[in-house]
């Protein structure tokens, strides 16, 4: 288990380093001279040269790569190109709101998703199963921003059950205002989780060891929860790990439509203002978060499945 943990962490570090390298390459691949873009068309040659030296752009590429990596790895994400405030501070101020949103969306997705998946697997072919199947696919097919707009129209404007925009103040108000964006972001995932869980449950239910459990007279309830679900949840956990990445990018829509602060809104505004340090910093933070979540998902799988631990550590 320890060796598995070490390998998995090493792999995560490699992923993060690759992303940093890709970000560096991406910035160099953007057409045009970064210095002239930053200073504007009326800058003199002397100003351009001074800025170039100040930003380290006169150094060879290898030195630039080294500096890029070392500053990032020291936790320094640079400063806002406009206000000069450290990027890390800006991102940390916005991060919690996005994490609440993603957590809310996960709750919206996972609780009904697992329930529907278990119910449609145990009642395979029933009317319930078929209706769930059709609804899952149709909801999955609708983009989340469309869902967001309709939720606003129905629940905020027509019914006035929820406020339309803002993140709110205080716990109850925040939670209240979190409902609609969470549903908008998580709704499509209910069906996705239900489908995946149903398929893997049916697969496990057909395995020989389940027949063995039945042949020893174990109750259906016990077989489903202790013997089937424990194995069937494994692929769902992997998908959820990836899903959090999708939700982080989906958060852009939800935050804009519902006028919430957050990472998504921050990236959107920064791209519009060509504020690249913020864009790069945000990308790094979300990547780091995504890698961390997938690391946790993999460790959870290793905890639940002894075969994974052994195969990898051998």
């Amino acid at each position: 288990m320890l060796s598995y943990l070490a390998r998995r962490i090493l792999l995560s570090v490699a992923v993060v380093l690759t992303v940093i390298a890709a970000l560096f390459a991406m910035m160099h691949a953007i057409p045009g001279d970064a210095v002239r873009t930053a200073l504007g068309p009326r800058a003199s040659e002397a100003m351009v040269e001074a800025y170039r030296v100040k930003m380290g752009l006169d150094q060879p590429v290898l030195v630039q790569i080294w500096r890029f990596f070392s500053t990032i790895l020291q936790g320094d994400l640079g400063s806002d190109a406009i206000s000069g405030v450290p990027v890390a501070r800006i991102i940390l101020a916005q991060l919690p709101d996005t994490l609440y949103l993603v957590a809310g969306a996960m709750v919206v997705a996972v609780v009904p998703g697992i329930w529907l998946g278990v119910m449609s697997a145990t009642h395979r072919g029933s009317l319930f199963d078929r209706v769930t199947s059709v609804l899952s696919v149709s909801v999955m097919a609708v983009p989340s921003f469309v869902i967001a707009i309709y939720l606003l129209l129905i629940f905020a404007i027509h019914l006035s059950w929820f406020p339309a925009i803002g993140a709110g103040e205080g716990f109850a108000d925040r939670l209240h205002r979190l409902v609609l964006p969470s549903v908008a972001l998580g709704l499509a995932w209910i069906g996705y989780i239900a489908r995946i869980l149903r398929a893997s449950m049916l697969e496990v239910m057909g395995e020989n060891h389940i027949r063995t459990a039945r042949a020893f007279g174990l109750s259906e309830r016990r077989i489903m929860f202790d013997y089937v679900l424990r194995i069937a949840l494994l692929p769902t956990i992997t998908v959820l790990g990836m899903g959090i990445g999708q939700m982080l990018s989906g958060a852009v829509f939800a935050e804009i439509v519902f006028g919430r602060p957050g990472i998504g809104k921050l990236v959107y505004d920064s791209i519009a203002a060509r504020n690249y340090p913020i864009v790069v910093g945000t990308l790094l933070v979300t990547t780091g978060f995504f890698v961390l979540v997938n690391l946790i998902a993999d460790l959870l799988i290793a905890f639940l499945d002894p075969r994974v631990r052994n195969v990898v550590s051998r």
Binding site: N208, A215, G217, D305, R307
Partner: protein
């Protein structure tokens, strides 16, 4: 039906079962009669597709949804199993009736420890968890799992195939059932392990005194282990009797040809192993005559038009053939 059927543990009589399939009705079992006495080991032999597994599933109440029992009964300790609810059947499974399945690599849950599974199957017992664990360790020791105190906390993939099958046997016999159904328990093992596993099974069986239905297509194992043998072909039991008697003087043409195909029975080296020509009949079509008629070298018009009755012939208790006393057939390579 059986030699000393004074008080059999299990009696299958006239069992007819079919599967509803898109093409119609597949008559998987037709008028099957089988009886197992107390403490008796009965071998059920047949090729793939002969209905052995369906019969086993019918006895265990683990039939798939498409299977329909049309007629007949399965009496176990005086109860007709075909009439039991799922809940009543669950009450018998793992307690009075136990099973060892074919493939030891997949028959155990891969994400739960052996100990957890052996404790779970004692769900009827009022013992404490610690006592159940102690019983499981004791049972593992009896099937000669080395170091059972620490092995019990291992997962199935950490055991070899032979050890897993011994664990499965330990699980099946832990409740001291009246009937053990063994579904080709040694087919997936190599020859030396097969012998060791059969010795172990016989040893535990005589200690516990349970009856065994041993399903196999390995004739040597039947000769070695079983008191009685039932030969199954295309959903019917075509011959049944004491093992020695049937091996010595098989009366059904299928049995005679089958024994001729057993590589262990062939004296001199041959270029080709002998086989019975033809294929299993289509079980969705109407079957007016003898089930074996299409492959039987001796078949005549009587065989293709009339279904044979069960006869007592030679030393066999049951021979489902129109000509049970005809001279023995020899197979040509």
């Amino acid at each position: 039906m059986s030699l000393d059927a004074s008080d059999p543990v299990l009696t299958v009589s006239g069992l007819t079962l079919s599967y509803d399939i898109p093409a119609g009705e597949l008559k998987a079992l037709r008028d099957v009669n089988l009886s197992i006495g107390k403490g008796e080991i009965v071998g059920l032999v047949g090729e793939s597709g002969s209905g052995k597994s369906t019969l086993m599933q019918a006895i265990l109440g683990l039939l798939p949804g498409a299977a329909q029992i049309r007629s007949g009964s399965i009496r176990f300790e005086g109860q007709d199993l075909t009439g039991l609810s799922a809940r009543q059947m669950r009450g018998l499974l793992g307690d009075r009736i136990s099973v060892v399945f074919q493939d030891p690599m997949t028959a155990l849950n891969p994400v739960l420890t052996i100990g957890r599974q052996m404790i779970d199957i004692q769900h009827r017992s009022k013992l404490s968890r610690r006592e159940k664990r102690a019983r499981a360790i004791e049972m593992l020791a009896r099937v000669r799992i080395p170091d059972p105190e620490s092995r019990i906390d291992r997962y199935p993939h950490e055991f070899s195939g032979g050890m897993r099958q011994r664990v499965a046997i330990a699980m099946a016999l832990m409740a001291k059932p009246a009937l053990l159904v063994a579904d080709e328990p040694t087919t997936a093992l190599d020859a030396t392990l097969e012998i060791a596993t059969i010795d172990l099974l016989r040893e535990l069986q005589s200690e516990i005194g349970c009856a065994v239905l041993f399903i196999t297509h390995h004739l040597g194992v039947v000769a070695e282990l079983c008191d009685r043998i039932d030969i199954m072909y295309a959903g019917e039991i075509v011959e049944s009797g004491a093992t020695g008697a049937v091996f010595q003087d098989p009366r059904h043409p299928y049995t005679q040809l089958l024994f001729g195909c057993d590589p262990a029975q062939i004296a001199e080296p041959m270029r080709h192993l002998p086989s019975i020509g033809g294929n299993l009949p289509d079980l969705t079509a109407p079957l007016p005559g003898c089930i074996f008629a299409s492959r039987c070298p001796r078949a005549d018009e009587t065989c293709t038009t009339g279904h044979p009755a069960d006869h007592k012939a030679g030393q066999s208790d049951l021979v489902r053939c129109h000509y049970p006393l005809a001279p023995r057939l020899e197979i040509s390579a």
